[in-house]
């Protein structure tokens, strides 16, 4: 048989994606005795988690003892405009401190207070100083700590492997098919459980803080395998990306800059946040600050290069160098700007997908037996808008839970038996772009997709532009079906990689656009020019996206609430109404 030649591995649990969520899931799964594989598109330790700078939100109350899980839960729901899965937000707030302590026990090192406990910094939308951090490279600390834990715990790591399809046995997931980027050879993983931890969808947009890897692979793999997606209309535009030089437009400028006292000013020198959120000012939630910057620029009050100014030059230079060292380097080396003396120029950049695979809060299980998801590619935790600092805590809390859920499922699941016919089909699909004589240039299709999403499905949306976007996506789908590799072969060929990724990007782009069209209100990160206010119905419903044959079905679903937490939520709503 032709498939006899395919490199095949058998594990109890296969984790796809090796950022924080994937690493944490693999560590848990392997600790529970499951034979665990960790598969990633890049080298180990390069995942987007390294770009997380500000910190990990965990209500220790080291600096402000009145903090506790209840306030963290309330802040998360207020930030998410009450569309969060309440149970996820509850577990997250309760378990984040223990997950951080665990990191420290595995060798993670964080900045300290004079009393030698972990320090905590202020961040947008958090009532108290809550983010555990080390300078402005907390994500690197997290990933390196988890990486060293995982490799010393018998997790089998497969670097530079791209997964292109989940394999199924009836309704159940029983493995994954992909290829080694370094050789182009096909590879099959048989597994009793699969955990998706592939991160976000930022490469749908032209201006993004995300790396090439962020192509919505997990979202699309899960969707195609029958999982539901939730909250896809909510795409977070981080307020502060670099706007110059052109090569790094969109590159993240950490929220820690504002957390440490950075001030936003427009081209006229006005501290414009006074007009948008006088109470929280620069530390308002990301959706509010991003819209404010967008409005200032659009109304002609921007900086000459189309951003606004973010300034820390009033702070002592030594403190800036100590607290924000990588920002000092980034601006000095890339833009020739000394941020201890002059302001930075910043503007919104596509940063994070609140939407993702709809999962069970306790276990990370999708509705497909054997399929789990955690981190950015899962949905529900953050609702309509994520608070800064809540993603690192999210991926620790729910990475652990998904790893545990997957391992427990694997312990009682039958032997994985992928269908040989499906593997053959996956192989044909993989190789098709190499064999086509003529066809589309994947780079051109990708550029057109990014332009479409940037212009028509960005910070502000309306019915007409969303419908135009859907028509363009139809056309892009047709073009993507005939992409071809015009140079090079199977070995480390980025053109070939992009052929598969395009399909995932297009699935995610359509899900975002369809959900954005259905939500006829403005809430959190989703702003409709033609529906600028909150709507009662939509305030109690998420939007779920699922596959029905070849069609994408989009429908409302009531928000998951927890009856015992109603008093906490009502108390917060009352407080916001009176302040």
């Amino acid at each position: 048989m032709a498939t006899a030649a395919v490199e095949t591995h058998e594990h109890d649990v296969v984790v796809i994606g090796a950022g924080g969520a994937g690493l944490r899931a693999a560590i848990e799964s392997s600790a529970l005795g499951a034979r665990t594989a960790l598969v990633c598109k890049s080298l180990l330790g390069k995942a987007h988690t390294v770009m997380a700078e500000g910190g990990i939100a965990a209500a220790f109350g080291h600096v402000e003892p009145e903090d506790g899980w209840q306030t963290h839960f309330q802040d998360t729901l207020f930030g998410g405009k009450y569309l969060n899965n309440w149970r996820m937000a509850e577990l997250h707030a309760k378990e984040a401190p223990e997950r951080v302590r665990e990191l420290e026990r595995w060798g993670g090192v964080f900045d300290r207070l004079p009393d030698r406990r972990m320090s905590q910094r202020a961040f947008g939308g958090h009532t108290h100083r809550r983010l555990v951090h080390i300078g402005d490279r907390t994500g690197l600390e997290l990933i390196r700590t988890l990486q060293d834990k995982a490799v010393h715990q018998d997790v089998d790591v497969f670097m530079e492997v791209t997964i292109t399809r989940l394999l199924k046995d009836g309704d159940r997931v029983c493995g994954a098919f992909g290829y080694r980027r370094t050789s182009g050879a096909a590879i099959v993983f048989r597994a009793r459980s699969v955990v998706l931890a592939t991160g976000g969808i930022g490469k749908c947009y032209r201006i993004t803080s995300n790396s090439w890897e962020y192509t919505g692979d997990g979202h699309a793999l899960g969707y195609r395998a029958g999982a539901e997606l939730v909250d896809m209309e909510f795409v977070q535009f981080h307020p502060t990306g670099m706007v110059w030089p052109p090569g790094v437009a969109g590159l993240l400028v950490t929220e820690a800059v504002r957390g440490e006292g950075g001030i936003l000013r427009n081209g006229a020198g006005e501290r414009f946040m006074e007009r948008y959120d006088p109470k929280r000012m620069e530390l308002s939630t990301r959706d509010v600050v991003a819209r404010a910057i967008y409005a200032e620029v659009k109304e002609g009050r921007g900086s000459p290069r189309g951003g606004v100014y973010l300034d820390v030059s009033h702070l002592p230079a030594a403190a800036v160098r100590r607290k924000l060292p990588s920002m000092v380097d980034q601006f000095m080396e890339l833009a020739g700007v000394d941020i201890t003396r002059e302001p930075m120029e910043v503007g919104p950049t596509c940063h994070y997908a609140m939407g993702g695979i709809k999962v069970d809060a306790e276990t990370g299980a999708s509705r497909v037996p054997g399929l789990y998801a955690a981190g950015e590619c899962s949905g529900g935790m953050h609702g309509a808008n994520r608070l800064g600092g809540n993603s690192l805590s999210d991926l620790l809390v729910f990475g652990k839970r998904a790893g545990e859920g997957a391992a427990r499922h694997a312990a009682q699941a039958p032997e994985p038996r992928p269908d040989e016919g499906e593997i053959e089909e996956a192989r044909r699909e993989l190789e098709a772009p190499l064999e086509r004589a003529g066809g589309e240039d994947p780079y051109a299709v990708h550029a057109d997709l990014q332009a479409t999403m940037q212009e028509l499905v960005g910070i502000y949306r309306e019915q007409e532009t969303l419908e135009t976007a859907l028509a363009r996506l139809d056309e892009l789908d047709r073009r993507a079906a005939s992409v071809r590799v015009d140079a090079g072969g199977r070995v480390y060929n980025p053109g070939w990689d992009l052929c598969h990724e395009l399909r995932n990007l297009l699935t995610c782009a359509r899900a975002v656009t369809e959900a954005a069209l259905l939500r006829t209100e403005s809430r959190g990160a989703h702003s409709r020019l033609d529906h600028p206010a909150y709507d009662g119905f939509w305030g109690e419903h998420n939007i779920v996206v699922r596959r029905d044959g070849d069609a994408m079905v989009v429908e409302p679903r009531p928000v998951v609430t927890v009856p015992e937490l109603v008093p906490l939520v009502e108390a917060r709503k009352a407080k916001e109404a009176t302040s």
């Binding site: 995942a47 060798g107 300290r112 080390i134 550029a447 015009d486 140079a487």
Partner: protein
């Protein structure tokens, strides 16, 4: 905007050579921008690793005009106009394709280093000064430029008996952690081959994170190893204790 010439190494394990390209250079452009522009418009299959574009992931290590560098933080205006910028893969590691090399050996070495092992009585309290000391080592983004430039690896290929600067930094972060209980000096002296380093500081010079590899990691580790081996009192005590 002005046209700039590039000569990029293309090829695989069986051989290759420099290929010329021309790119319209924008203000503030870095080498990685130019490489990706060539990939997008002229050579769709040009193999290159990159992720963060912000010197935080360490993926895009290469040799630019002969100097081991991160392409994402090497600005074009650093080089004289009218002169081609030469981009080659790291020479110390086997070629996969174009600018991509096989760095998997580094990951094998990392597995040999016993991980952080906390003291049983640790109360998890630390001073900021303790944090600052090891934070320098933990800044390492694993670009492996220090490994690329280290003559023990580059010129003598002693990968079977020498860990290299990246891992002196890694071991320093563990050995100097105030709550770690293990003693890795025997590993440094034996399998690790620390003695082969003759402190030429090449690694420190290319570190994009500015880690003082030689001064703050290697020399203190060498001193610790020497203390262990040649401290006569410690030797006597070890002998009496039967170790």
């Amino acid at each position: 905007m002005s046209a700039r010439q590039f000569r990029i190494w293309r090829g695989d394990a069986s051989g290759g050579g420099l290929v010329e390209y021309e790119v319209e250079a924008e203000e503030g452009m870095v080498v990685l921008d130019a490489v990706r522009e060539i990939q997008r418009t002229q050579a769709h299959d040009l193999a290159v690793r990159w992720n963060c574009k912000a010197a935080k992931c360490g993926s895009c290590a290469a040799e630019v005009n002969g100097r081991p560098s991160l392409m994402c933080k090497t600005r074009l205006d650093r080089f004289p106009p009218g002169q081609a910028v030469v981009v080659e893969p790291m020479r110390t590691f086997p070629i996969v394709r174009d600018l991509v090399t096989d760095v998997s050996w580094n990951y094998q070495v990392n597995k040999l280093i016993p991980p952080f092992t906390p003291r049983p009585d640790a109360e998890w309290l630390m001073g900021q000064e303790d944090v600052d000391r090891i934070a320098e080592f933990r800044k390492c983004i694993e670009c492996f430029l220090c490994q690329d430039v280290c003559h023990v690896l580059r010129d003598h290929q002693l990968t079977d008996r020498y860990f290299g600067p990246r891992f002196w930094v890694r071991i320093a972060s563990l050995e100097m952690h105030p709550l770690d209980a293990l003693d890795r000096r025997a590993l440094l002296q034996g399998e690790g081959g620390l003695g082969l380093c003759n402190i030429t500081k090449c690694c420190s010079e290319v570190c994009p994170e500015g880690i003082h590899i030689t001064d703050n990691a290697i020399i203190p580790l060498k001193e610790r190893v020497v203390d262990r081996s040649y401290d006569p009192l410690a030797r006597l005590l070890r002998r009496l204790a039967g170790r």
